[in-house]
Amino acid sequence: MKYVRIALARIIGFFTGHREDPDLRDELQAHLEMETAEFIRRGMPPDEARRQALLASGGLTQAVEAVRDQRGLPWMESVVSDIRYALRALRHSPAFTAVVVITLALGIGANTAIFSVVRAVVLKPLPHREGDRLVYLKHSIDGPGGENVLFSVPEVQDFRDGAGSLGGIAEYSPFTFTLRGENDAVRVRAGLVTGNFFEVMGLSPILGRVTQPTDDGIGVPPVMVLTHDYWLKRFNGDSAMVGRQVRLEGKSVTVIGVMEPAPYFPDRVDVFLNMVISEHHTSAMMVQGRTHRMTEMIARLVPGATLEQARAEVGAVHARITNEFKDAYDPGSHYRVTVIPFRQALGSRAQLTLWLLMGAAAFVMIIAAANVANLTLMRGVRREPELVARAALGAGTARLRRLLLAENLLLTLMGGLVGVMIAIGGVGLLVSLVDRYSARANEIRLDGVALGFTLMISVTLALLLSFLASLPKEGAFAALISGGGHRVSGGLKRQRLQRGLVVAQVAVSVVLLAGAGLLTRTMIQLSRVNTGLRTEEVLTMEVPLLELAAAFVPGADATAKERYNRMLREVRALPGVLDVGLGSPSPLRRSSVQFDVKAEGKTLAVGEAMPRAELRTANPEYFSAAGIPLLRGRPFASTDQAGAGMVVIINQTLADRYFPGEDAVGRRIAWTGDVLRFTPISGDWRTVVGVVGNTQDGGLDTEPRPVVFMPFTQMLAMGGGLVIRADSHVARLTPAVTRVVRRIAPTALIENVMTVAQIKDQSVSPRRLNAVLVSAFGILALIIAAVGIAGVLAFSVSARTNEIGIRMSLGADGGMVQRMILREGGVLLAFGLVLGVAGALFAARVIRGLLFGVTPHDPLTLLGVAVMMSAIGLCACWIPALRAAQIDPAITMRSQ
């Protein structure tokens, strides 16, 4: 209590104490007078009495000081005075302050933004209980699309039985449903999971319950667990949702709980359901079909088991089953299973991009810090006389350091503050980028840790800057006086430091620019890739009319096809529409349906993988509407009806694969493989009537896959993509087309409404953002480095004014002086370039995975960067060189 009271009194005193000073002086004066009077009373002469009284007082000013210290907060006062002094000093050099603050703000802003992303996506612990024990199993085969072919239920069972180190294996199967609301329908992305899914994943509900083993099998009621995001978005976080029924695929499903926020894995989904919702997932073909691979596997290591152990066991099980069921594992495809730590599987796509950006941002920070260090060093030289004078007047080394520290802290904190503002904008931009790569983008925010990171950078930088500056030494004042206010301490060491910083700046700029160049070329190469379509004025729109659950209801397929035909007729009649086709999926969108394909009369070499092809459907106008070139044969015709001869059109890739150098038209191919048993697709021979050009369905940077088109009339009416071509501005047709579709199918889902240009752009935009961000960092670095070179040379010129004056008076002309200064800058530039190119070669190897159509050591890029850096660097040298050349020796010599 007592201390609080004193503290309070002192804090009040700190703010109001100065008002008490006159009162204190009066009091001391009264004391002095009383004492003087006493001495006089004792018989001293008045003058002597006054002198004695003053002597006894110990000094009035000292007393006032002592009382002041007691009254306020002395250490606070000195801090305040330091800050006040620093503010005044910075106000006197506004250009310096502005340059430093802006430089730091850019560096700190970029770093804070990217740090908060890296933290959320890579560093932050997973919400999963003991997430480090989770592993993801991947089943791969050779060939395009074989990266991950998933598992079948019998395979999962084999691993459950044979791999003891995997304590629990959860199954997950992605599925899309239509959720019917009051008067609309929405697409719901669902994960069908086994009851143990949440137990294995180590995730808990925040409301209700999650699935459990009793939800497995048939004959149980369908239940749904909402993801946290979907609960908030679709149901406004209504806790009364738990226990409610929703309509899904014509069935009533009970919402049993809401899951805690967690990254989406393996896919982004809205809800989780037990398997019973899909008749297919509980059917014999799914449960018993070894080649019916639709299931993802996530497992939890038992305590004490290592990843190596799990890998060995999984490898052994895999070897055994491939040996036992030879039909299910085509040897040419090289089936293999890899066990990947969960964390790695979760972030693998985002990590490289993020580390690239973090690296680039760190480089910008290095350059910015180097520049600020250089500026501070130069400023330190200019104010050396002032510091020396302060030291001579009694400021100790510690006190001077504190002054510098206050000033530098003020600078870096201002930089940090502006940087945080930049970061707030930057994080928004980055979230949209990371969203494409990582399931954890929803966790990104600029929180206390990120701000702490900013503060740490600022304070560290301030400390570094303060201790970089040298303080006046003993006797410096004498030197200052005798030196007439010039050049107190030897500048050699400092100059070396400054030059080292410039070389580092140039080198780092080169690395960043090279990265920017490579990524920009990647982007350009990618946007030059031919989509395979002749025009971009094509609008695509998917209107699935046939729900999975109703697909086999008699007449449903015919009804859907009839409605599609009406849509086609009415859309074709719209003004501006040139052509309209129907097929599934839309052009440039990958089909998830793939089967093995065989060709009549063609045998595969031993060990050769059976080609897999995407199954797509198309009506006769699909190709002309989409602008897919017909290379041979004919398009589908209206005579290719359900009952007629079965025909297909194949793409160039498949034609080249099976009929190289031959005419594929007229040959016969067939779907093949055990898995066909589980589909409504027959393995009958089908005649190839045409060959079409390849299209970039899997994105612009992928190899085209083999494709088999079947007539829309000879398949179930799944998917239903409208393809509409117009002269120009095809996107403007969207409302009119939507109205037509709505009139014919009022509650149908309308999705993926995009023009071909937009689909293409979607493929390029992540790379573009990469390129733009790194280029921005590169240009920033270039500017900062140029300023750095110019600054250091200008400083060098001003320090050598005398020398240059002497040279000129001895006969050197302006050109010689200019060349001398240029040479000085050129040497720094050359060192920086050499180091930078070496660094760039290394850095490019690291980001190899992000490049497309350009080699990491692309000579053109490196050359371009070197030329650019040299040009800008030499320009930066030119200004101080020109100034040096204009030095008038007479004036210089006289001023000495």
Partner: protein
């Protein structure tokens, strides 16, 4: 060390409080005079020591200050004890006696060792 002693930390506060308790409200000069007399001039008490100590006691709430006319018609700042101050004198005096006894016991020649 026959010269004058500096006031020991902590002891000055008690001297001031006791002086005011004995003599009633008093100005700084009076307090200084009284302390020096009581110490038989073995102590020097300059302003830089006295006035911060008075301020501290005021901040602690043991004394309060007031400007008044002095006996010989001079304006001076008088310090008076508060209720808390009165309690504090008693407590500190007691503690000081105990400490002094303790120290005395330690410093007394030990009979056993002789």
């Amino acid at each position: 060390m026959a010269g004058k002693l500096d006031v020991k930390q902590g002891t000055l506060a008690l001297m001031i409080l006791k002086t005011i308790e004995v003599l009633g409200p008093l100005h700084g000069y009076g307090i200084a005079r009284r302390i020096e007399e009581t110490a038989k001039n073995r102590l020097t008490l300059n302003y830089g020591t006295l006035y911060p100590a008075l301020l501290k006691l005021e901040q602690e709430g043991f004394i309060k200050a007031e400007w008044r006319q002095s006996e010989n018609n001079r304006r001076a700042k008088y310090y008076a004890l508060t209720a808390a101050g009165r309690k504090q004198v008693a407590r500190e005096a007691r503690e000081w006696h105990q400490t002094a006894d303790l120290i005395a016991a330690f410093l007394a020649p030990r009979r056993e060792s002789e």
